[in-house]
C-alpha cells in the first residue's frame, strides 16, 4: 500500500488571540507585547514558538503555546490601553492540523481554490477547505491549517480523503 500524500495531524496546545486595532497606530505596541514583528499584508511572522498572522487590515492572530495565552492577553491589553482595540482569546474556537509530507500541497490543492504557487514562504492564506472556512501557511515539511472547532471532524475527514494513497496530482 502506497503512503498517504501527507501525514495529517490534529494539533493541540495552541493559544490563539485575536487582536483588532489600527495597525498603523498601534503596530509597535502590539509587536512589543506579542514579541514578534508585525506581519505584512497576508503574511505571518514567527520565532519558532509564537506566530503572528495578518488576518485583515485591522486584525492579527497571535498563535502561541497555550500556557502563555493569559499573560499575552494581559500584555496586549496593557499595551493597547487608551487605544480603540479588541483583544480576545479564541484558543478554544479553533481546530489546528499539520499536513506534512512531500505531497502536502496536493492535499491543499484538492480542497482550496487558492493558488499555492502564489503563496510566499511566509504567506498566510485565508480561504476555504471544501465547504468550510480555513486558513493555512507553510511550516517545516508542509502546511499548518486552522479551521473552526465545530468542523474539526469534517476537516479531519476531508483532509484524510484528499491524502488518499496513490492520489497525488502529478501526472502519472
Amino acid at each position: 500500500m502506497a503512503d498517504a500524500l501527507a501525514t495529517i495531524t490534529r494539533r493541540d496546545g495552541f493559544g490563539m488571540v485575536t487582536i483588532r486595532a489600527d495597525l498603523d497606530r498601534s503596530g509597535d505596541a502590539i509587536a512589543e507585547a506579542a514579541g514578534l514583528a508585525i506581519p505584512g499584508v497576508t503574511r505571518i511572522t514567527s520565532d519558532g514558538s509564537r506566530s503572528l498572522g495578518w488576518m485583515s487590515p485591522d486584525e492579527l492572530l497571535l498563535i502561541l503555546p497555550a500556557a502563555e495565552t493569559g499573560a499575552a492577553i494581559a500584555a496586549l491589553t496593557g499595551a493597547l490601553t487608551g487605544e480603540h482595540a479588541l483583544v480576545v482569546d479564541v484558543s478554544d474556537a479553533r481546530a489546528v492540523f499539520d499536513l506534512t509530507g512531500p505531497h502536502a500541497g496536493d492535499v491543499i490543492a484538492k480542497l482550496s481554490p487558492a493558488d499555492l504557487d502564489a503563496l510566499p514562504a511566509d504567506g498566510l492564506r485565508r480561504s476555504r477547505a471544501a465547504q468550510t472556512a480555513a486558513a493555512f501557511w507553510r511550516i517545516e515539511g508542509g502546511f499548518r491549517l486552522i479551521g473552526f472547532r465545530s468542523t474539526a471532524q469534517y476537516l479531519d475527514l476531508i483532509l484524510r480523503n484528499a491524502a488518499l494513497p496513490g492520489s497525488q496530482l502529478a501526472p502519472r
Binding site: 500500500m1 482595540a85 478554544d92 484538492k110 473552526f148 469534517y154 492520489s167 502519472r172
Partner: protein, 976 residues
C-alpha cells in the same frame, strides 16, 4: 479457447500490444481483445459490427466514428453499483474482465421488439410527440406518459450506490492548452518559452491527435515535441483529461480519468479539475462530417477517418471490401491506407466533378477506381452493409451502377471542434471554402480584463491540414448536404443527420415547411443534436439542410448554442468527495459526543446537530420530550446552548451602533446587566433575537439564534464597513470559543451551589437579567441569569474545551436531584408555554415585532434604528395585520402547526379567505392540554372568539383565541 479474431490484421496497430490478450464479455458472450484496444476496436476485431440500436426506431447500428463524437456504440458497462450506461465504445479502453451490455434493445440486440418503431417510421415524423399525444388530455397521464417514460432515456440508470471514489482539484496556470495533437503541443511550446506555467490536456491516453495517423513522420514529430515539453519545468502534460466546459474568467472544467473501470487500483476513479487559466488555447482538432445518402446508418457505414484509425491504431479491419465516398481529398488517405493494409478498395465515389489532387493521383496510380461526379443513391443491407448503388450526384438518384462491399468510408468534410470556444461567448464565422464554422478571432471569449482569453489553433481554428502532409496539394472540398443533390422524399427520409436521435434530412425539411425558421426551435422540434451529440456530428449537416429548405445562406441560419459539457460528466465526478460523511460540514458542539453516548435523537439546525430529545429505552422522541419538560419544571435540567451565537462588540461607538442594530436601547444598559433585544432588517422585518449583556463600559456581548451567528456577525460588519465606517467599533464572533450550558428548573440554584465556585448565585447577588464572572467547578465561567424556559435558569459560558467537563460535573452533582438533559424540542415547548416567540416559527421574514406584541421591546425614544423607517410604512401600520395570540383547542387535540383560520367569503381567485394561521402548536405536558400560538387578524381584540381550521382531510378543527402566555403569567418561577 483461443483463436485469432478474424478481423485483426496481421500487421500494424500502433496502440495495441499483440502479446497481451484481454478477455471480456459482451451481451453474455466471452470474447478476447488486446491490450490497447478500445471496446469498439475489440468488438470489430471479433467481427461484431453491430453494437447497438438507435434510440427512436431501434435500427441496427455500428460504430460511426473512432472518438468522442461516436453516437451509436454506447454500452452499459460494469455491474451492480459500478454499472454505468452510455459508455462510449470508441473511447473506453478495454480492460480485463469487462462486462458490457448493448442498449436500446429488448430482449436482445439481434431480436429487438422495439424495432417495430422502425417499420412504423413514416408514422413518427418530426414533432410526432407534440402532435400526437395532445388529445384526449386524460390519456397523457395514464397512457402516453407511462409508455413514453418506459421507453425514454438512453440506457438505464444504475440501481445501487456508486462504490467508487471521486475527487476534485484546483489548478492555476498562465496557459492551458486543450488538445495534445500537433497544434496543441506546438502552441504549448510557444507558451512555455514565454516562461509562464503551461498545462496541456489530452482527452485520450495517447499524444499526437491525428498526426501519427495522417502524416508520414507524424510520430517522430510528436515525440520531438513531447521531449521538448517534458524537459521544461513550467509545463505539465496531462493525459486522459477531457476539458468539458469553459466558463467565465478563464475557468475550465476537466475530467481526468485515473482508474476508470479499474477499481482494484484503490485510487479515485476520476478527478474533476477546476482550472483557472489566464489564456486558453483550444487545439481540439476537427470532426469529420457524415454524408447524407439513403441508408447511411447501416452498420458498416463509417467515417473515413475512423476506418483508417481502426486499421492503423488497432490493426483492425472494419471490413474486407471498402467503398470510399467523399467530397474532399482527405478521404483518399483512407483508401490508400486500407489498400496497403490488405483490404480491397472497390471504388472511391467522389461527388466532385473532378479529382486532381496529389492524393487522387496516388489512388489512381494504385489502381483504385475513382468515380467522380458520383454519389451513393442507396446502401444495400440491413444489419450490415452489402453494397452500394451509385448515381449522378447532380441527379435524382437514378442508379448508374452497383458495387458490392462490406464497409463504406464516408467523408463530408471536416468541422473544427468549436465547442469550448463557444461555451463562454466566443463567436464563429462561416468559412465558405471549407464549408465550416470556425472561431472568429475578432470576437473571442473575454477574460476579467476585457481582453480575449481564448485562441484556437490548428484544425480547431480551421487549419484542417495541419496534421497531414502539407506538401501534398489538395483540391477544394465541395459542400454536399444531400446525396444525390435532388434526391426525392423516398431517399431523403432514409438519410440520417443525427444517428443517435434518429433525425433525418426529411425531418428537418418538414420542420422548415411547418414554419420552424430558427435553428434553436428546429433542434427542439426534431431533437437534432440533442443528448450526447451536442452539435458534434449532426450540427453542420442539419443546419445546412435547414438553410437550403429556408432558401437562406448558412451563416444566416447560424448554429445552435454549444453548451457544456463537451462529453458527459457523471454526477459522481461533479460531487467528487462531497458525499457520505463529507457531503457537508456537520458542526458539533464540545458536548456532542456526550449527547451521542446518551442516546440523543438529533435535530439539524443549520449545519449544527442538536439533541432533539434523549429517548430512554422504551420511550419515543415525544415521550422523552414530555419527561424532559416535567423534569425541568419540577427539578432541574441542562440544555447544551453552545450553538447560540456570541458576538462581542467593543469601541467608543459600540453603544450607538447597537442602538441602531437593535430595536431597543442597548447604550443605556448598565454594566453587569442583560437585555432581550430584537434585530430587524432594513425592511422592518424581524430577523433575529437574543440577550445582550453589557460586559464593560465599552463592550457588549450579543447572543444570536443558533445558526444566526455568522449571518448576524456579517450583518454587523456590513453596516460598520459600508455605512458607518467612521464609527469606532470592533466586533469578534466568539461563538465557538465558548460552550454554553443552560441549567434550568426550581432546583437550578441548589445544584450550582453544590459545585465549588467563586460566584454568589443568590437572588440578591445575581438577580434575573444580570451576569457575573468567576469560577464554577474550577472552570473560568460567566453566568447569565436569563431564562427561555420560564424557570429559574442560569446560562453558564465556559471555554469550549472545558464545556464537556462542566456538563459532566453538573450531572454528577445533580444525580440525586434527577438532573435531566433536555433537548431543543423541550426548549421549544417550554418557551411556547411561556408565550415566548421563536425566530422561524412566529417569524417568516414578513413579520414585524409589532405583529408579535413586542412593542415593549421597541424604543420610542430613538430617532433611528435599522428597520424603523420601514415600520412606519402604511402596510406596516395597518391595524388589520395579523397579530399574535394564543389558541386553545376546543376538542383537546393539537391543531396542526401551519393550519389556516378561514374567514367568510372567497377572494378573486375563488379561494376561501383567510384570517390567520397557527405558528406554533404543541401538547403541553405541564398543563396536560394542547397549546398553540397563532397570527390572527385583529387577534388581541378578539379574545374568546372561536376560529375554524379546515384540515387537508376535510375535517375542521376549532380553536379559541386566548392570551399567548399559558404558564406562570406572573413570572414568579423565574426566581425559583
Amino acid at each position: 479457447m483461443t483463436h485469432t479474431p478474424s478481423f485483426r490484421l496481421a500487421r500494424g496497430g500502433r496502440l495495441i500490444d499483440r502479446a497481451r490478450q484481454i478477455p471480456f464479455r459482451f451481451d453474455g458472450r466471452h470474447l478476447r481483445g488486446l491490450q490497447g484496444d478500445t471496446l469498439a476496436s475489440a468488438l470489430l476485431a471479433n467481427g461484431q459490427m453491430m453494437m447497438g440500436r438507435s434510440f427512436k426506431y431501434h435500427r441496427p447500428r455500428g460504430p460511426l466514428a473512432s472518438g468522442a463524437e461516436e453516437p451509436n456504440a454506447l454500452f452499459g458497462l460494469g455491474q451492480g453499483g459500478r454499472f454505468e450506461p452510455n459508455q462510449r465504445a470508441t473511447t473506453t479502453a478495454l480492460l480485463s474482465g469487462m462486462v458490457m451490455q448493448s442498449q436500446n434493445c429488448w430482449p436482445s440486440l439481434d431480436a429487438d421488439i422495439g424495432a417495430v418503431n422502425g417499420w412504423l417510421s413514416p408514422m413518427f415524423p418530426a414533432g410526432f410527440y407534440y402532435k400526437t399525444f395532445i388529445h384526449p388530455r386524460a390519456f397523457w397521464k395514464h397512457l402516453f406518459e407511462p409508455v413514453i417514460r418506459h421507453s425514454a432515456g438512453l440506457g438505464r440508470a444504475p440501481s445501487d450506490p456508486d462504490p467508487d471514489r471521486y475527487e476534485q482539484a484546483y489548478a492555476h496556470t498562465e496557459t492551458v492548452v486543450v488538445g495534445g495533437g500537433i497544434a496543441g503541443l506546438t502552441a504549448a511550446r510557444e507558451a512555455a518559452r514565454a516562461g509562464g506555467r503551461v498545462l496541456v490536456l489530452e482527452q485520450g491516453p495517447v499524444w499526437g491527435g491525428r498526426t501519427p495517423v495522417d502524416h508520414r513522420d507524424g510520430q517522430a514529430r510528436i515525440e520531438a515535441l513531447l521531449a521538448d515539453l517534458g524537459a521544461r519545468p513550467n509545463v505539465t502534460l496531462r493525459r486522459n483529461c477531457m476539458a468539458t466546459g469553459l466558463y467565465d474568467h478563464g475557468y475550465l472544467l476537466a475530467r481526468e480519468a485515473l482508474a476508470d473501470h479499474d477499481p482494484d487500483q484503490g485510487i479515485p476513479r476520476q478527478r474533476l479539475w477546476r482550472i483557472r487559466a489566464r489564456q486558453v488555447v483550444t487545439a481540439t482538432g476537427a470532426l469529420e462530417r457524415p454524408l447524407s445518402f439513403a441508408m447511411n446508418d447501416v452498420p458498416g457505414v463509417m467515417l473515413a477517418s475512423a476506418v483508417r484509425d481502426f486499421i492503423l491504431d488497432y490493426g483492425v479491419a472494419p471490413g474486407r471490401r471498402l467503398v470510399v465516398v467523399t467530397n474532399n481529398d482527405d478521404a483518399y488517405r483512407t483508401a490508400l491506407i486500407a489498400q496497403e493494409a490488405g483490404l480491397e478498395v472497390a471504388a472511391i465515389i467522389d461527388a466532385r466533378p473532378r479529382a486532381g489532387g496529389d492524393l487522387a493521383q496516388a489512388a489512381r496510380a494504385a489502381n483504385i477506381p475513382v468515380l467522380t461526379g458520383t454519389g451513393i443513391a442507396r446502401v444495400r443491407g440491413g444489419r450490415h452493409v452489402e453494397g452500394v448503388i451509385h448515381c449522378d450526384q447532380s441527379g435524382e438518384g437514378r442508379p448508374t451502377g452497383a458495387i458490392d462491399c462490406d464497409v463504406v468510408a464516408m467523408s463530408g468534410g471536416w468541422s473544427p471542434v468549436v465547442h469550448l470556444y463557444s461555451h463562454c461567448g466566443g463567436k464563429l464565422i462561416w468559412d465558405e471554402a471549407e464549408a465550416m464554422f470556425r472561431p472568429d478571432p475578432a470576437r473571442p471569449p473575454l477574460g476579467a480584463d476585457g481582453q480575449g482569453n481564448v485562441t484556437a489553433t490548428g484544425a480547431a481554428n480551421g487549419d484542417l491540414r495541419c496534421a497531414g502532409d502539407l506538401e501534398r496539394a489538395e483540391d477544394a472540398t465541395m459542400p454536399v448536404w444531400c446525396m444525390p443533390q435532388n434526391a426525392p422524399y423516398k431517399l431523403r427520409s432514409k438519410m440520417w443527420l443525427d444517428f443517435q436521435n434518429d433525425v433525418k434530412v426529411s425531418d428537418v425539411q418538414l420542420a422548415a415547411r411547418e414554419g420552424y425558421a430558427s435553428v434553436e426551435h428546429t433542434k427542439r422540434y426534431t431533437t437534432l443534436g440533442m443528448a450526447t451529440d451536442q452539435g458534434k456530428l449532426s450540427n453542420i449537416n442539419g443546419l445546412a439542410v435547414l438553410s437550403e429548405a429556408l432558401s437562406q445562406p448558412i451563416p444566416q441560419t447560424g448554429t445552435t448554442t454549444f453548451r457544456p459539457p463537451y462529453t458527459p460528466l457523471t454526477l459522481a465526478t461533479i460531487a467528487a468527495d462531497a458525499r457520505g460523511d463529507a457531503f457537508q460540514p456537520l458542526r458539533r458542539t464540545p458536548i456532542h459526543d456526550w449527547h451521542a453516548r446518551n442516546g440523543a435523537a438529533w435535530e439539524p439546525v443549520g449545519q449544527w446537530r442538536r439533541p432533539y430529545s434523549y429517548p430512554r429505552a422504551g420511550e419515543d422522541r415525544h415521550a422523552a420530550v414530555n419527561r424532559e419538560i416535567l423534569a425541568v419544571r419540577k427539578g432541574v435540567g441542562t440544555l447544551d446552548a453552545s450553538t447560540l451565537g456570541k458576538i462581542v462588540v467593543r469601541g467608543p461607538d459600540a453603544g450607538r451602533f447597537l442602538d441602531m442594530l437593535y430595536t431597543n436601547m442597548m447604550s443605556t444598559l448598565p454594566v453587569g446587566k442583560c437585555r432581550y433585544g430584537l434585530m430587524c432588517s432594513e425592511n422592518g422585518f424581524l430577523m433575529d433575537d437574543g440577550v445582550v449583556a453589557r460586559l464593560t463600559e465599552d463592550s457588549w456581548l450579543c447572543h444570536t439564534t443558533t445558526g444566526g451567528a455568522e449571518r448576524i456577525h456579517g450583518h454587523m460588519e456590513d453596516w460598520l464597513q459600508c455605512e458607518w465606517w467612521d464609527w469606532q467599533v470592533y466586533t469578534a464572533n466568539l461563538t465557538e470559543q465558548y460552550a454554553q450550558i443552560a441549567v434550568a428548573g426550581p432546583k437550578a440554584r441548589a445544584l450550582l451551589e453544590r459545585l465549588p465556585g467563586s460566584i454568589d448565585l443568590s437572588q440578591q447577588a445575581l438577580p434575573f437579567m444580570q451576569w457575573a464572572e468567576g469560577e464554577v467547578a474550577g472552570i473560568p465561567a460567566r453566568i447569565y441569569r436569563i431564562s427561555f424556559s420560564g424557570e429559574l435558569s442560569y446560562e453558564i459560558a465556559v471555554p469550549a474545551g472545558r464545556g464537556l467537563d462542566l456538563w459532566e460535573r453538573l450531572h454528577e452533582a445533580g444525580h440525586d436531584m434527577g438532573i435531566t438533559p433536555y433537548g431543543t424540542e423541550a426548549m421549544h415547548v417550554m418557551r411556547a408555554e411561556k408565550g415566548f416567540i421563536m425566530i422561524g416559527d412566529e417569524t417568516d421574514g414578513t413579520i414585524i415585532p409589532q405583529d408579535l406584541g413586542l412593542g415593549w421591546a421597541i424604543s420610542k425614544k430613538k430617532a433611528d434604528y435599522i428597520g424603523k423607517r420601514a415600520q412606519s410604512r402604511s402596510f406596516m401600520t395597518d391595524r388589520a395585520r395579523w397579530q399574535l395570540v394564543g389558541l386553545e383547542s376546543l376538542d383537546g387535540r393539537v391543531i396542526p402547526d401551519g393550519a389556516y383560520a378561514v374567514d367568510a367569503g372567497s377572494n378573486a381567485n375563488g379561494q376561501r379567505k383567510m384570517q390567520g394561521r397557527v405558528t406554533s402548536s404543541y401538547h403541553s405536558p405541564t398543563l396536560d392540554r394542547p397549546i398553540a400560538m397563532a397570527l390572527v387578524r385583529h387577534g388581541p381584540e378578539r379574545m374568546g372568539q372561536v376560529l375554524d381550521f379546515p384540515l387537508p382531510s376535510g375535517e375542521v378543527m376549532q380553536g379559541r383565541i386566548c392570551d399567548p402566555v399559558f404558564y406562570d403569567r406572573e413570572g414568579g418561577r423565574l426566581n425559583g
